[in-house]
Assembly symmetry: C2
Homo-oligomer: 350 residues x 2
């Protein structure tokens, strides 16, 4: 069966491109002696996590406990949860997970560390803890190397946790000096920094220039998207995740309406690109507006604008959030359908 046999809109992933993307990132990490711990938030599929592990990944990264539970259930046994876990409910779930598999966590505050410590210690468990460092992104993370050292020293005193190293997102040029300063302060306090984990697809293959980082957590590289094309991290031909859509209306000579809107493509924008997705067959068209089910396209620059009933292939702006909208993704090779996978870790917000 072919993709062309499927009704639209439908989410598809080119397995050949997925394999190329996995191989390329693994080769980069191997070349530079970096551990690769892919972030599965992009695909949310145990099956693709398995491909990444089989290619050489040391484990996987999840953003939410619910994702980690799905992956553990599928047999994956080494997971970093890269989002701070707050509250006893999550600490208990973490404890249950830590009984089954190797799991590590992150945090940027004494509150997070002591909260997890109390519950894990009560269960007689010990989990590796990475201090999250804000090395320039302005999101989560301790603000200065001195703060990292202080939290590391606290974690080292806490039952139930083992200080394992540092974590940052994304890995920026300025992350190197920051992380070096933190590592040196921590080592001066007599602790060992086993690992320093960096993240982000756009900067991934410049990590060896940054220094300090021992492990990479890219996610989007596996699928690619319009933002990746714009930032140069994945070329169009390797953008595996695509939505096939149909033109349902041509109300004017300048406008076409697709059956794919923000419920299918997300309303996420892509830095470095305008509009809401790239139409592969009509790159000169612009998806200038999305409603929930309508993609509104300016076709004035198209030599042969698509008509009602014509199908188009859309490379989404943001692969991760697009994958999260769909219960299923159709894997194919060259248009021939290989398998339809349920997005097992989709929509798990907790």
């Amino acid at each position: 069966m072919e993709l062309s046999d499927l009704d639209t809109p439908v989410l598809t992933a080119d397995l050949d491109a997925v394999e190329r993307n996995i191989a390329r990132m693994q080769a980069y990490c191997d070349e530079h002696g970096l551990a690769l711990r892919p972030h599965i938030k992009t695909h949310k599929l145990p099956e693709l996590a398995r491909l990444q592990l089989d290619a050489g990944a040391c484990g996987i990264t999840c953003q939410k406990l619910g994702e980690a539970e799905v992956m553990a259930e599928a047999g994956i046994d080494d997971i970093l949860i890269s989002f701070p876990l707050v509250g006893d409910t999550k600490a208990e779930r973490l404890a249950a997970l830590a009984r089954r598999i190797t799991v590590s966590v992150v945090g940027d505050s004494a509150t997070v560390a002591t909260g997890l410590s109390t519950v894990l210690a009560r269960h007689g468990l010990e989990v590796a803890f990475l201090v999250e460092c804000d090395t320039g992104n302005g999101r989560t993370g301790v603000q200065a190397p001195e703060d990292a050292a202080e939290l590391a020293s606290l974690v080292a005193t806490l039952d139930g946790l083992r200080f394992a190293g540092l974590m940052t997102y994304p890995t920026l040029p300025e992350s190197g000096p920051w992380l070096r300063a933190a590592r040196e302060l921590i080592e001066r306090a007599g602790l060992t920094v086993e690992q320093i984990s960096g993240g982000g697809t756009p900067t991934a293959r410049r990590t060896h220039l940054v220094g300090e980082v021992t492990e990479l957590r890219p996610g989007t590289y596996v699928y690619g998207d319009r933002a990746c094309i714009a930032n140069g991290s994945v070329p169009l031909e390797d953008c595996a995740l695509r939505v096939i859509a149909t033109v349902v209306s041509r109300p004017t000579s300048s406008r076409a309406i697709l059956d794919a809107g923000s419920k299918t493509l997300t309303s996420d924008l892509a830095v470095g690109a305008t509009g809401h997705g790239l139409l592969v067959e009509h790159p000169e068209a612009e998806v200038y507006k999305l409603n929930e089910e309508h993609g509104i396209v300016d076709v004035r620059r198209c030599a042969r604008p698509p008509e009602v009933g014509d199908r188009v292939t859309v490379v989404p702006n943001h692969a991760c959030t697009t994958a999260n909208l769909h219960d299923e993704v159709v894997l194919h090779r060259g248009g021939e359908i290989v398998e339809t996978l349920r997005t097992a870790a989709r929509g798990l917000v907790r």
Copy 2:
């Protein structure tokens, strides 16, 4: 059990507010002799559709066939599908639905009308067809009253379809004269315009000033959201749909990080409001950025900024897309949990 017992992030709906919203819109329609056909794209729940019907709605509106199938399965027997159905696969599904319940459809082209006609006629079925009119929105819809009349005349000749009237979205002040002109042209051709369907929550309660419209299809009014607050259609106290989130990081004195990002709140913006949701307990805070799992909040103007572990209640920018992200919604009255509903028509893109 109380909402405060639930782990976060969690999607909640205040059933008292839902009932007030349903009653208010029904009262408006009753007062002005308008049929009310709520759009269920907002809640995607057969249970709330039933509340709307019990309050006096004449039927419901769905955007996708999949939503209509779920609602029909739940016993709802009068559904308008307000999105053009293109292709034989959908026409066959429409035929199966039309055997079970009263269903009506829309379209703005001969291609859509003839495509449906062929399949429905083959099955010996007849479905009501409304001509979609672009009365100022610039999305789908025929562009001029003359085009509406032309398509109406074509539909009237097609087996399998019955020309039933006109449909537009949203209902704008200029929609009245447009629709009147179309109706008069169509009547002059000897056809009857049984119904004229208008849509949209922001303009809903000004419909009687527009004229011509006989039926309303608002959706968002049932939940309200930050856009509704900004456009005056639903006050804050009636915004039923809220996400409870937890502060997981306070990296600086000016910044708080929530465990609710674009995977929980969507990245949809709200016209007339800045940022990504209203924090009920901290209205002076601004959710200035969302990543997938992180809500990044400027707390500089807060008298008592929330700390790590504190919970906050977020009124989302856009209720419909937010509801679509969550497998479940927790119904409550005054914080006391009534029921947790599976979002049965969530994620149905086809």
